[in-house]
């Protein structure tokens, strides 16, 4: 037992563990616990009625739907951006690299106002998009997706970037010399290594998007049942001095987010494990399903 104990980098494990738990409790657990305690003032039936009203349900759909879409867009395009920034040399690369962080630094209200002005049907972009294709972005749920994609963009890029840096170019070359096509190299060799980090970035982007308020309200149009996000509904309740109603919505969001994030984490853990065990096998033929099926057939 004693000999099995791994070497720990931080001195005083118990102390640092205690510190970490107190820190997390103070910052996260206690406020959230207070939130749930507040909502416990209601009976379960009252809670349920408030949580599942028509407008609340519509707002969950809008909030989680647009967040999912925005995080997915970022998972695809953020990966490409990260790839390009790591693997290609081009003039101004450092400049573009620095640009990636800007959505973090910009006050979200500024982002919201700017995007709205840009995508309104009188804006630089909006007038072409609406004029050419009759497609409205500002003041529709698509506007929410645009704002969320903008705000959460750095998450995927910044989580995936260091992992891509770690993949040596030789790996790709080796794959190529063994006769892999480009697509195979990407799909079978590169993606499995990047995937856990990509999922982390996706989860971060997704959870950030769910809570986003400042940029969304300007571009959304905020029409009940159509483009009203849950955080706005919470503010609406606070405006009526309805603290309990606001708390109920907050708790619902918290629970849904927690479940989703937990499943993403599990998925990530599974993916990382699978990748590791696959890498350990090292034998390219061993994944051969054909052999198994043949054996079964025989």
């Amino acid at each position: 037992m004693k000999s099995n104990r791994p070497h720990r980098v931080l001195p005083g494990f118990n102390l640092s563990l205690g510190y970490a738990l107190v820190y997390l409790s103070l910052l996260v657990l206690i406020p959230l616990g207070g939130l749930i305690a507040k909502s416990a003032e209601l009976s379960l039936a009252e809670f349920w009625t408030l949580a599942t009203s028509q407008r609340s349900m519509a707002s969950y759909r809008i909030t989680f739907g647009t967040s999912l879409l925005a995080a997915s867009i970022n998972a695809v395009f953020g990966l490409i951006v990260a790839w390009v920034l790591v693997r290609y040399e081009f003039p101004g690369r450092r400049f573009f690299d620095a640009l990636v962080d800007l959505p973090f630094a910009l006050p979200t209200a500024v982002a919201g106002i700017t995007l709205t002005t840009l995508y309104a049907n009188t804006g630089w972009l909006g007038q072409y998009i609406e004029g050419q294709w009759g497609f409205k972005i500002a003041f529709t749920p698509w506007g929410i997706v645009v704002a969320l994609t903008f705000v959460t963009m750095p998450f995927v890029v910044r989580t995936v970037q260091p992992v891509i840096e770690d993949i040596e170019a030789e790996v790709e070359e080796a794959a190529a010399t063994l006769g892999a096509t480009r697509w195979q190299t990407f799909w079978r060799v590169l993606l499995p290594g990047v995937f856990p980090a990509l999922l982390t970035g996706f989860a971060l982007a997704f959870s950030r998007a769910i809570g986003e308020f400042g940029s969304v309200i300007f571009i959304a149009g905020n029409i009940p049942l159509v483009s009203e996000i849950t955080p706005l509904l919470i503010i609406a309740k606070l405006e009526q001095y309805d603290l309990i109603g606001a708390t109920v919505l907050a708790v619902v969001m918290l629970v849904i987010s927690f479940v989703l994030l937990l499943s993403i984490n599990l998925l990530q853990w599974w993916a990382a494990n699978r990748h590791r065990s696959e890498a350990r096998e090292l034998d390219p033929g061993s994944t051969g399903n054909p052999a198994n099926t043949q054996g079964a057939a025989a």
Partner: protein
């Protein structure tokens, strides 16, 4: 839970400031967002007048943000000596919490509202949709820009103005008013998150045919964006938006600033205070001052929340609470 934590933080902040505050009497006026200009001009006038009258120097500090947030901060322990708000509901909340006297509307003249405004229409230059009255807003093809009726004071005033006007038509009743509002919202493509953003959406982003907003805001738009692009239309009838003030009793008793706070608010009704309001395009209560600035304030037949809706408490209950008339318009049928 949250509240006591916040109070503790505010208390700590207050303690660290205490020695400074004692050197000189200071007042904190907690106010809503767009009242910045009004009090920026008003405070030096009051300080000078108070010094001339009593020999005492008072310092006035301002705090501005969305009115509900401000009131919540005061309830949570922000030490405001006076609150100057854009809606009675906000002060009623403080009265409920016991920070403000229950009969605060009786403490000053005019139901404790030293100046008023009204809701008007802003339309594009030349008034292409020929909008003159509330009924023109619900014609098909007219697009109306307003702030969110549940989330903003400005939006609530607009809602009640539209409802009250419909109610006061011949044969008008709650049913016809609800029908009017339903048609009104069919023409509302979006709800701006705040009064200022509604203005930006209408003027700078060119959305909509008409913006419904405060008369005082209309003037501000004219100063900010020039008078070339749009016109102000006064409907024949609109709501009288009373902008109330109150002393926060709990705080002034604790800090010993009642005398100064009382003088500060009373001065709003003086000729100076009323002139300052008129200069900022708020309708003064003083008949003489009003007459002097009459060219700024075209005649509108107005109705109040008290006479039309039986007060803010009832209006809030009937229209803005969960399941109220606004929510009923946005139901899936």
């Amino acid at each position: 839970m949250n509240r006591s934590l916040l109070s503790a933080v505010l208390l700590a902040a207050g303690l660290s400031l205490a020695p400074v505050a004692q050197a000189q009497t200071s007042l904190l006026n907690v106010s809503y967002d767009v009242a910045r200009d009004v009090f920026k001009d008003y405070n030096p006038k009051f300080v000078a007048a108070y010094k001339a009258r009593t020999g005492e120097t008072v310092e006035v500090k301002q705090s501005h943000a969305g009115s509900t947030k401000q009131v919540r901060a005061v309830a949570d322990g922000l030490e405001a000596d006076v609150v100057t708000m854009n809606q009675a509901t906000d002060i009623m909340f403080l009265a409920e919490k016991g920070l403000v006297a229950a009969d605060w509307t009786k403490k000053f003249p005019n139901d404790a509202a030293p100046y008023t405004s009204t809701m008007v229409f802003i339309v594009r230059k030349g008034n292409p949709k020929a909008i003159k009255d509330w009924n023109d807003l619900i014609k098909s093809g007219t697009s109306i820009i307003i702030p969110h009726p549940k989330n903003t004071g400005n939006g609530r005033w607009t809602y009640l103005a539209a409802w009250g006007n419909a109610l006061k038509q011949p044969g008008g009743n709650d049913k016809s008013a609800a029908a009017y509002l339903s048609a009104f919202f069919k023409n509302t493509p979006l709800f701006a998150p705040g009064g200022r953003d509604a203005t930006t959406t209408f003027i700078q982003r060119g959305q909509g045919d008409v913006l419904v907003t405060f008369e005082s805001e209309a003037e501000l738009i004219a100063r900010e964006f020039g008078r070339g692009g749009f016109e102000v239309v006064y409907p024949p009838q609109s709501i009288l938006t009373e902008l109330p003030v109150a002393i926060v009793d709990k705080v002034v008793d604790k800090r010993g600033t009642r005398k100064q706070a009382q003088a500060y608010l009373e001065y709003l009704w003086s000729k100076d205070g009323q002139t300052n309001a008129a200069e900022n395009y708020l309708r003064p209560r003083d008949a003489e001052v009003f007459k002097k600035y009459a060219d700024r304030f075209p005649a509108v037949k107005t109705f109040t929340v008290d006479e039309t809706f039986g007060g803010w408490a009832k209006a809030t209950e009937a229209h803005f609470k969960d399941g109220g008339s606004f929510d009923q318009i946005y139901q899936v049928k």
